[in-house]
Symmetry: C2
Subunit: 298 residues, 2 copies
Amino acid sequence: MKNILIIGCGLLGSSLLRRIHKKKIAKKIFIYEKSKSKIAKIKKLKLPGTIVKKLKDGAINSNLIILCTPMSEYKKIILRLNKINLENTLITDIGSTKIDTSKIIKKFLRKDFNWVQSHPIAGSEVSGPEHGREDMFVDRWCIIIKYKNTKKNNLNTLSRFWKKMGSKVVFMTSEKHDKIFSITSHLPHLIAYNLVKSAQDFENKQRFSLIKYSAGGLRDFSRIAASNEIMWRDIFFNNKNNISKAIDLFIKNLNAFKKDINSNNNKSILKKLIQTKKVRSKIIKLKQDVNKPDFGRI
Amino acid sequence: MKNILIIGCGLLGSSLLRRIHKKKIAKKIFIYEKSKSKIAKIKKLKLPGTIVKKLKDGAINSNLIILCTPMSEYKKIILRLNKINLENTLITDIGSTKIDTSKIIKKFLRKDFNWVQSHPIAGSEVSGPEHGREDMFVDRWCIIIKYKNTKKNNLNTLSRFWKKMGSKVVFMTSEKHDKIFSITSHLPHLIAYNLVKSAQDFENKQRFSLIKYSAGGLRDFSRIAASNEIMWRDIFFNNKNNISKAIDLFIKNLNAFKKDINSNNNKSILKKLIQTKKVRSKIIKLKQDVNKPDFGRI
């Protein structure tokens, strides 16, 4: 890899930046960032890379372009990239949904350009370049979207890149991707937002404060309910079909739980609670979470 | 305080034991535990206190008795305590719901006995005396249930005890208690169990593995969905009225979210996501969670 352009330098963009610099993966790293406050932070933190004022200046000199902006920005950026000669450049993105974004790419991107989509399963409830970490992608999965006509050399280049970021790479279609993450990521975030909203509604109605008692469980949910609102709005809108189905399944199961509780169905409740318990040890065994009680937070 | 009897020495019972011993709060600590495997662990860990084989031997010599068993055991224990002369002993429990347990106490406990209920807001997804910690209750709230006729000196004794455990004490009725914790604790646990169950159902139906991608959000929920099943069955059954109402509010809000998503209601979604975000900083300000991204787990 010679030169890399990162478009959008927030939490994940700046994590890529740090890693690329540390592992000496590119000769030059260009950063294109439209937010003045983020640029100020990047400068203050003395992050590596060259900030370019014009998108073209970074793009024309790069072999790999990585979009790290909210997904709702893609179309605008594509229309600008189209005006630059990027036939020999590999473009990727790190957006969290793939069916809708692939449609936008297909519809608007120049046919002689190469774009292969990525999705590293990494992030945090905090945003901004000040929270980026060089080890953000280490031991995390990175999904690369593979269509029938995806060029092998592009898949190889991108796969090598993510492995250098420390990730474990897996290929799948956008359809499978969006189904899986509607359950493992999008529904959990929606549920967390919804639980916190319900607690707020309850607090307003009952007129007594209850957030201070959140150590009983609510605090776990409040973390992902503090995630970036633009990013999550985009995800909810983009993957609405899968998320709707996930909501329906969730409500169906919740009503069954309610019925079990109200009818004192001991056998059914215990079966469920014992069954769900197994998932935690599976997650820890798969090294997808820390092996300590309470996330090791105390 | 002279002597204390702990009935049930699991996660919380053994945490009390450690704290009482370290802070020299009692002259003697008695432990009554019916599980042979827990007794073996207590001995192996060389935890302080005297294990009594007969409940009476510990109870008759104690000034304070603390029930740390599942709530479904209370009735059986009360009937046994009734046979001992405990008119001058203060009894408390640490159960997570209060309306139902107060009814059991009122119905079955000898009228000349003194029982004031407690609920320390502390715990973990792991169980057993090996996971107990001396600092389990430090800076955590402890609710003491106060009725009109509760004797002041008993309230004072219990309040002093919990403050020595490191807790912040607050008094409230069982009705208010069960309402608050249906939202901050019981609903979150139910939702976590239900989300993990839904992910399992989805995995079985689609026939592709997805637990390995849980770092996208699901893993946060899997922690409390790994909590003790007997304890949580008891809570769900005991507080069914409040929990049912909480489920209804949750489903109503979730359907509204679904509608917003399916109609691309940008304004409504953003308002909710920005509003819920505030709760996290409030929780951290109230010192109810660690002030680090990702619970500081990485």
